[in-house]
């Protein structure tokens, strides 16, 4: 029996009888972070990093049964020792270290290596087996630094302002919204946020997890000329505003790295900004973990696993165990 295994409910530790980021309703769930593909509703007990608690309450419900832990704090369940470690993905995000009888596994959850100065930066944890995500696990995905991208956004905003256009950036309400809002120049113009971003920020601010406040966007919002609006997606409020104000729209996402994706979206501009590790980041994380065995999930797992196995590592995916044979075409 493996320490962790992939079951129909999700990643499972049989010895402790707990799940990590399970996708079906379970009794005990360890949660890496608040994004909806990791933190699902309906579990009886939630365990996560302390900074993740207000996020789970906001997104899943005030009444959930949740316990928060500090980074490095040990949680013993049936002789298994669990602990949370910084993943650098979004506020409250963590990797989960699992230790049993000297054997160590690390589940990265989602992560990035660059310090975004919003959440606690990624820390590499040594382990025997690493379960890593691979959202951007292809070598075409290589990020420029956050500073470079923020500069691009500032320039674009200033230009739009000069053209009397409203700048709209589509970005996730948890993660990129805080990053952009924090680092963007506040001298260019007013910044507004869609309700979901505004509410997320407020919850974070109330718990001392975030500082930068902004105004919420509503039909009465004034001084929209030259303003910047952050929104997770297009909304009726934005639609209404676009009837009276010229607008330029942008998306901040790692997918914007290829021209093909930038063209396909119905947006004017794409900024390559991601909360996930790029190709070099994934390789770096694998190397520094010193893991003998790597299990790849969540993304381009087969390509990344095959590449790792060609480097001489024992790599597999959770869908199909990868033996290093060039079976992929």
């Amino acid at each position: 029996m493996e320490l962790l295994s992939n079951t129909k409910n999700g990643l499972y530790c049989e010895v402790a009888d707990v799940y990590i980021d399970p996708w079906r309703k379970v009794d005990k769930a360890l949660i890496t972070h608040g994004h909806s593909d990791h933190a699902r509703p309906g579990h009886k007990h939630y365990m996560c990093h302390v900074n993740c608690v207000p996020i789970l309450k906001l997104r899943i419900g005030k009444k959930i049964n949740v316990r928060g832990f500090n980074f490095g704090e040990s949680i013993h369940i049936n002789e298994v020792r669990f602990s949370f470690h910084p993943a650098g993905h979004v506020i409250g995000s963590a990797q989960i270290r699992v230790e049993y009888k000297g054997e160590v596994w690390v589940v990265t959850g989602d992560y990035k290596l660059e310090n975004d100065q919003v959440c606690t930066p990624f820390e590499s944890i040594k382990c025997h087996t690493l379960i890593t995500e691979s959202t951007f696990g292809l070598p075409i995905y290589k990020w420029a630094t956050q500073d470079t991208i923020i500069q691009q956004i500032n320039q674009w905003w200033a230009q739009n302002k000069a053209d009397h256009k409203i700048s709209v950036i589509y970005a996730y309400s948890l993660g990129k919204a805080q990053r952009i809002l924090k680092h963007l120049s506040h001298d260019i113009g007013n910044i507004y946020a869609d309700n979901s971003i505004y509410n997320t920020n407020n919850a974070l601010i109330q718990h001392g997890l975030y500082k930068r406040a902004c105004q919420t966007l509503n039909p009465e919002s004034k001084d929209l000329d030259g303003a910047l609006v952050l929104s997770p997606q297009s909304s009726s409020a934005l639609n209404n505003i676009s009837k009276h104000h010229p607008m330029s729209t942008a998306m901040a996402s790692g997918w914007m790295a290829t021209r093909n994706k930038r063209r396909n979206r119905l947006i004017d501009k794409g900024f390559v900004l991601s909360d996930h590790a790029d190709w070099d980041g994934l390789l770096e994380a694998v190397r520094s973990s010193e893991a003998e065995r790597v299990i790849v999930t969540h993304g381009y797992q087969s390509a990344f696993a095959r590449y790792l196995s060609e480097l001489g590592l024992r790599a597999e995916t959770y869908d199909t165990a990868f033996k290093g044979e060039p079976s992929l075409s």
């Binding site: 292809l138 070598p139 075409i140 995905y141 290589k142 997606q233 297009s234 909304s235 009726s236 639609n239 790295a257 290829t258 021209r259 093909n260 930038r262 063209r263 119905l266 004017d268 501009k269 794409g270 381009y300 390509a303 095959r306 590449y307 060609e310 060039p326 992929l328 075409s329």
Partner: protein
């Protein structure tokens, strides 16, 4: 290379003419003098800098980046562009070397003739000093895959704004071959040329769509009507045995129509004609799709010139024997035109039909006949040229068909309906004939959305196919043949008309009705 790669990517993102113009303008402003002619040459796709095949380039890139072929094959479908995939796979560099575009072009030219290993060294070293955007451009450039899709008009206007040279002087320079290796931009721009005078067109008279009743523009006897055609509105200029053809965007399009640029087509020199270029097959006028596809072609084959020759329908003469008569009365112009006709090649130049009457009724009935002569509208010109030189475009009454709703497309946020697709019956099956913008009332749209919940057959992303039920009147300007469509036709300017509540879907129109309309209007 840096600024050219930036403008290349930026132009892909911009949509409006104005935004592209501003971008090009600031690009020209920032480009060093020695690089300007190269930039123009590349923007016009005139330079060939190909040194190797993309396959060879791929081998080098994968070896240099240490990426196995199978991994490249995983990446390429996501990027969908070989030059870009390679540019992204190559290791990133921070070094930015200020090597000028002209230096790069010289280097590339030099390496065209060298052996493969020298070329490889050159290319690999280049990658080491180019950022990933520059590498996209570089890879395209040296494999002969770099193409800008800019209109001549756009480049002309941008150059005009930056260098203050009249557009027509820039236009003939642009379409004449020039060698950026042995010419400086200043020389190219400022060397005096006969063509600066000879090619100069007259201002194009603006044309406005007549939206009110025709009686409102005055008395019929002051006006003349000319049938208008779906074609290219042009000025045809012959001066000093050279022909220049301008379209109304001030683009010099002479090269697109070799059959219209022979000086011997007009025996008189210093003549400027105003009219419309159309394509013909035998005696039949081809619809505008033919013209559009011909204009897009890089090379015009002999066969095409023989089978579908271009002709020009003359509306006006603006210059005769070097005399400017553009401001003269219509009668005077007509006299000149009459004198000119015997000297024109009548295989190429066609006379327009003019409608003259003291009563608007004659104009109205001429308008009704327009489709029978393949005209697409009527142009009204003031006979006595006044200060206000606007011409009026009098559109024809639309044609209509009773069509059945088959697809409904939602907006991106799925809140609203953005477009509706209609079909007509063909052997018990509905085949699509047009997609129209949603102009339904808010109430109707809400009702339709409720109806959709129970009557959707299938979903394809934002598009739903629906049960045949709603019949609408669809109005359109004309029908053209379109072999790529299942129905074999396209409707020009199709619009949503009224909902035919009483009509059952099975009684709506069939494809044969549209085919009949199409036949009737082709002579």
């Amino acid at each position: 290379m840096k600024s050219l790669s930036e403008i290349y990517l930026l132009l892909e993102e911009l949509v409006s003419f104005d935004a592209k113009l501003q971008a090009l303008k600031s690009y020209f402003e920032q480009t060093a003098a020695e690089d300007l002619l190269w930039s123009i040459s590349l923007l016009l796709n005139k330079s060939n800098a190909r040194i190797i095949t993309i396959t060879k380039l791929k081998d080098w890139a994968l070896a240099h980046a240490k990426i196995p072929e199978w991994l490249y094959n995983q990446c390429h479908p996501l990027v969908k562009d070989q030059s870009e995939t390679l540019a992204l796979l190559l290791p990133n560099t921070d070094s930015s070397i200020g090597k000028t575009l002209s230096a790069w072009m010289l280097d590339i030219e030099h390496h065209k003739k060298l052996n493969l290993s020298k070329q490889e060294t050159f290319v690999v070293n280049a990658w080491k000093i180019l950022n990933s955007n520059e590498r996209i451009l570089f890879n395209k450039l040296i494999t002969g895959n770099l193409r800008f899709s800019l209109s001549q008009q756009l480049i002309l206007h941008a150059l005009h704004l930056v260098f203050n040279k009249p557009i027509h002087c820039l236009a003939h320079r642009l379409i004449t071959d020039f060698d950026a290796f042995d010419k400086s931009f200043r020389d190219w721009l400022n060397q005096p040329s006969r063509k600066d005078i000879d090619s100069k067109p007259y201002p194009f008279v603006p044309i406005k769509k007549l939206s009110s009743d025709v009686f409102n523009i005055g008395e019929a006897r002051h006006w003349l009507g000319i049938y208008g055609y779906d074609g290219i509105s042009v000025q045809w200029i012959k001066r000093n045995e050279q022909v220049f053809i301008w379209n109304d965007k001030m683009e010099l399009i002479s090269l697109l129509f070799p059959e219209l640029t022979k000086p011997e087509l007009c025996a008189v020199d210093k003549v400027v004609l105003q009219g419309t270029i159309i394509l013909m097959k035998d005696d039949q006028m081809m619809d505008q799709n033919f013209l559009t596809s011909r204009v897009k072609r890089k090379n015009i084959s002999k066969k095409l010139l023989l089978d579908f020759p271009a002709k020009m329908i003359i509306n006006e003469v603006l210059e005769y024997n070097g005399e400017d008569i553009s401001e003269r009365s219509w009668n005077t112009q007509r006299n000149y035109l009459e004198q000119l006709y015997p000297h024109l090649d009548n295989h190429v130049f066609l006379q327009s039909n003019t409608i003259l009457s003291d009563h608007w009724e004659s104009f109205t009935s001429a308008r009704k006949e327009a489709r029978n002569v393949n005209a697409s509208h009527l142009v009204l010109k003031n006979k006595v040229k006044t200060k206000d030189k606007t011409n009026w475009l009098w559109a024809l009454d639309p044609l209509t068909v009773y069509a059945t709703l088959i697809y409904v497309e939602s907006s991106i946020d799925r809140r609203n309906i953005s477009s509706l697709t209609f079909g007509v019956w063909d052997n018990k099956k509905l085949i699509p004939i047009c997609k129209v913008e949603n102009t339904l009332s808010k109430n109707f749209e809400t009702e339709l959305q409720i109806w959709l919940k129970k009557n959707t057959i299938e979903k394809f992303g934002p598009v739903k196919s629906v049960q045949p039920f709603f019949v609408f009147e669809i109005s359109f300007e004309s029908i053209t043949e379109n072999k790529r469509k299942k129905s074999g036709i396209s409707l020009k300017s199709a619009k949503l008309g009224k909902y035919l509540k009483e009509m059952k879907a099975e009684n709506a129109h069939t494809i044969s009705i549209l085919k009949e309309i199409q036949q009737k209007h082709i002579k």
